[in-house]
Structure formats: structure tokens, C-alpha cells
């Protein structure tokens, strides 16, 4: 089952995928069907702690001229940076290089501490897609990647669907694809992660309690490219969902409604 959250008619609703016979539509809990454009997508989960992985694909580490890390390179994100499907993300006027990062997002469904690898997948409620944008010109070598690069408002689109773990039997063998204005720019597979999902859950839960709603963004493969205002970015994970986001300039972002 695919679960989403939307804003419709003055309230937040949990919705499900309306099925192939109703392609592009969502189903409210009372059965009503809504079409795209009638509602706004929200992130599919109200996030708790959001973890992100740096350099978790060997090819991407090489692309950034780093050797692969020996322990997971984890950083955290605040709720301010999470936004939904089909949202706009701002490229500040002084940004010199802003790139997308297509990532499989793992949503935790249980409370757990000291979870062993063998039991780790039982912690997973489901999966969604994240686009972990970075503005590299703001990088500084302190707690890198620093929050000015990675924790900007609405700079981490998430969604549209939370797909039940039971419906994704092979999370470690999913194709990742990014398209910019329809042209494929990034391709990879979750099979190439350096630290796989069970390893990440064991590592994180070895020193902190994981809770329902916590999300692990598992890193991105190679294939980064600069994005410009007006670009439409699609980040897709096979069998999970396709997340769409549009880059806007300062003028559009701050334009009075």
C-alpha cells in the first residue's frame, strides 16, 4: 500500500494511491477520489529525527574526491528543510553550484535501541524518496556538510508516497534515477551503498533510540549536476515513487502573493 499526506479543503488528510484504474488520483479515507491539482502534497510522514548519509556510494565519494568512509558519515536535518512533492525549492541568487541528490529514504516504524543487523529490517515501516539538495558554495570545513548547505528551508523534498516495507521486498537492489527537465542525469542502484540499511540501523541505534517517524536518507550515487531556476527535477526510486520539484529564483520565491 502507498500512503500519502495532503492538504485539502482546509485540513490535512491521509490518502492512499487510487490504483491503476484511477491513475494520478488519490483516495481520501472516506473513499472520495481527488485529482492532481485539487490538493497540495505534504511530506508523507511527519518527520522525527532525520538522518542523512554523506559519501555512502563509492562512485559518488570518488566523484567528490573523497575516499570511502570507514564508519557511516551521518549528519542530521531539521524539520524546516523537509517539503512535499511538487513543491518549489529556492536557488539563492549567490549560489554558484546547487545540485540534487536522489536518495532512498527509510522510514522507521518502531522504537528501538541496540538493534542488531539481523532484526534491523523489522524496524522499517516503509520507504519514500528524498531529494537532498546541497548548495556547495556554502560548504565550510566545520561539521561538514554544514547546516547552511544542507538544512535550508524547503531544500529537502520528500515523497510523494510512503510505500509499505512489505511492498518493497528488495530495498538493496533498487534503481535510482534523476531527470532534469526530462533528461536523465543520474543513475545508480541501492546495491552500491557502502553501508546498507541494516548496517545503518544497527549503527545509529547503538547509541541512540530510534523512533517511529525517524527517517534515514541513505545517500546518493554519482551523477551530480548544477540546477537552475525553472528546472524541473524528478528523483525516482524504482518500485517506490517519483518525486518532482521545481527550482525557483529569489524573485519568484519572495514574490508577494
Amino acid at each position: 500500500m502507498k500512503h500519502g499526506r495532503i492538504s485539502y479543503n482546509g485540513a490535512v488528510h491521509q490518502v492512499t494511491d487510487a490504483g491503476v484504474e484511477n491513475a494520478g488520483r488519490v483516495r481520501l479515507a472516506d473513499g472520495r477520489l481527488l485529482s492532481e491539482g485539487e490538493f497540495q502534497w505534504l511530506p508523507p510522514v511527519e518527520v522525527g529525527t532525520v538522518f542523512a548519509l554523506g559519501l555512502n556510494y563509492a562512485d559518488h565519494a570518488k566523484e567528490l574526491a573523497f575516499k570511502a568512509p570507514e564508519v557511516p558519515l551521518v549528519f542530521l536535518k531539521g524539520p524546516n528543510t523537509i517539503t512535499g512533492h511538487k513543491a518549489d525549492t529556492r536557488r539563492p541568487a549567490d549560489a554558484t553550484y546547487m545540485h540534487y541528490e536522489c536518495e532512498l529514504a527509510v522510514v522507521i516504524g518502531k522504537t528501538g535501541k541496540n538493534v542488531k543487523k539481523a532484526e534491523a529490517m523489522d524496524m522499517v515501516a516503509g520507504y519514500t524518496v528524498a531529494n537532498d539538495y546541497a548548495i556547495r558554495g556554502y560548504l565550510e570545513n566545520y561539521y561538514r556538510p554544514n547546516l547552511r548547505v544542507k538544512n535550508r528551508d524547503a531544500c529537502t523534498p520528500l515523497g510523494p508516497w510512503l510505500v509499505d516495507a512489505a511492498d518493497v521486498p528488495n530495498p538493496m537492489a533498487l534503481k535510482l534515477t534523476t531527470r532534469v527537465n526530462g533528461k536523465t542525469t543520474q543513475e545508480g542502484t541501492t546495491a552500491d551503498m557502502i553501508f546498507d540499511i541494516p548496517t545503518l540501523i544497527e549503527y545509529l541505534s547503538s547509541f541512540m533510540t530510534l523512533n517511529p517517524g525517524d527517517v534515514i536518507l541513505t545517500g546518493t550515487p554519482e551523477g551530480l549536476a548544477d540546477v537552475k531556476p525553472g528546472d524541473v527535477i524528478e528523483t525516482e526510486v524504482e518500485n517506490v515513487c517519483c518525486l518532482v520539484n521545481t527550482i525557483v529564483d529569489d524573485q519568484t520565491w519572495f514574490a508577494p502573493v
Binding site: 542530521l76 547546516l147 547552511r148
Partner: protein
């Protein structure tokens, strides 16, 4: 005014006081390659937050912890792209905070394992906002004063810090912005009773305990 609670995200900043900047020394060489320009933040996630009277179990294998006394600005009204002149109008109060970290000398990579273990952010209840520059934070371990930290040497004053941070991220009601921790703060061993206090802000007590086996 409604009673304010800490219920959002806690953010902290490093290298925001003269003593720490002097202690860490030159930042020109690798890995830093220059002093930071923007505030360098970190996140203390929800699992780190505990109240007065708590027992904090260290992660397995750790025997002592840095206790960085600081204060947090509790956000009362969303702060986004605020000016320094307006910033404190978005703050509803202060908390005393003990930012606990496993010792780490390098600030190069995010210190998640070191700073985000369960219980790594004891916080007091919310107190009325006062002028931080007039405060001295006192840290006692097992009844002995180990540190007195006057908050009159901040590089970015609270209003400027909030303004600079809110340039790129919104702080929402219930979030906390810690005004800075000392580089290599005093350490407490497992078994220690710790007390932080500051005149006008009361005190914050907690105990450090050895990690329990899984």
C-alpha cells in the same frame, strides 16, 4: 502569554566565544582551511532532551563526557530572516542547558555519535528572558566547582546569532538555539552528580552513569 515549552528541535553553535577560538588555535591549515564565516550549527535531536533530575547513561565504552554549560533561546514565534534588532522579539525565554559530548578534538565532520546519544541534552524548565551577557554559568561536579563561564565573550550576541541563522533556516515556536559551547569543556566521569547554575536562571541537576550493556 502562553506557557512556553521546548518541543521542537534544538540547535547549537560552536566557536562562538573568545576563549574557545583562542583554545582551538589556528584554523588556517587543513582540515579547516580558514575560519568559519557563517555560524557552525549542529542538531541535538529529540532523543537527547532530558529534564532536571535525570540520569544520563553514557554510550557503551565511554567512561567520561564533556559537560558544556550553555543557555538556549526558546523560540516563541517563528523566526525567519529576522534582523538583529527584531530577533529577541521572537524569543520567549531561556533554558539552562548541559550540552553533553563524548570528547572529540576535531570539528571537521558532524559529531553525531559523540553528541546525539540518548540523554545528551539535559535542559532546565523555561525561564524569563534576561540579558545573557550578565550571566555566569557555574558547573559543579560532585559538589565541587569545576568551571565558571561568564557569557560576556560571545562573538555573535544572541540577537545577531538568531538573525544570522534565520537567514537560511526558520526556527519555529518550541525550537531552541543554544548560544555556544566551550571547545573542550570540563569532563565528568560516570558516577558523577552534575549541577549547572546561573543567577536568575536557577539550576539544572543530573547524574552521569555508565552505559548499560545491550
Amino acid at each position: 502569554m502562553i506557557k512556553q515549552h521546548v518541543r521542537g528541535t534544538a540547535y547549537g553553535v560552536i566557536l562562538n566565544d573568545a576563549v574557545s577560538v583562542q583554545k582551538i588555535g589556528s584554523l588556517e591549515e587543513a582540515p579547516y582551511k580558514g575560519a568559519p564565516k557563517a555560524p557552525v550549527l549542529y542538531i541535538k535531536p529529540a532523543n537527547t532532551r532530558v529534564g532536571c533530575g535525570s540520569t544520563v547513561n553514557l554510550p557503551q565504552g565511554a567512561h567520561s563526557v564533556e559537560v558544556a554549560a550553555t543557555v538556549g533561546l526558546v523560540i516563541g514565534q517563528a523566526a525567519a530572516r529576522v534582523t538583529a534588532a527584531d530577533a529577541l522579539g521572537h524569543v520567549s525565554g531561556l533554558v539552562l542547558a548541559a550540552d553533553l559530548s563524548l570528547p572529540h578534538a576535531s570539528y571537521y565532520r558532524p559529531a553525531i555519535k559523540e553528541k546525539c546519544f540518548d540523554g545528551a541534552l539535559p535542559l532546565s524548565s523555561v525561564k524569563p528572558l534576561v540579558d545573557i551577557a550578565g550571566l555566569t554559568l557555574v558547573t559543579e561536579i560532585d559538589g565541587e566547582v569545576v568551571d565558571r563561564r561568564p557569557l560576556n565573550d560571545l562573538i555573535r550576541q544572541p540577537a545577531q546569532l538568531l538573525a544570522d541563522v534565520s537567514e537560511w533556516m526558520t526556527l519555529n515556536a518550541g525550537d531552541v538555539l543554544l548560544v555556544g559551547v566551550r571547545y573542550q569543556a570540563p569532563q565528568a566521569k560516570a558516577g558523577s552528580a552534575v549541577r549547572l547554575s546561573a543567577e536568575g536562571l536557577g539550576s539544572l541537576n543530573f547524574t552521569i552513569a555508565q552505559g548499560v550493556a545491550a
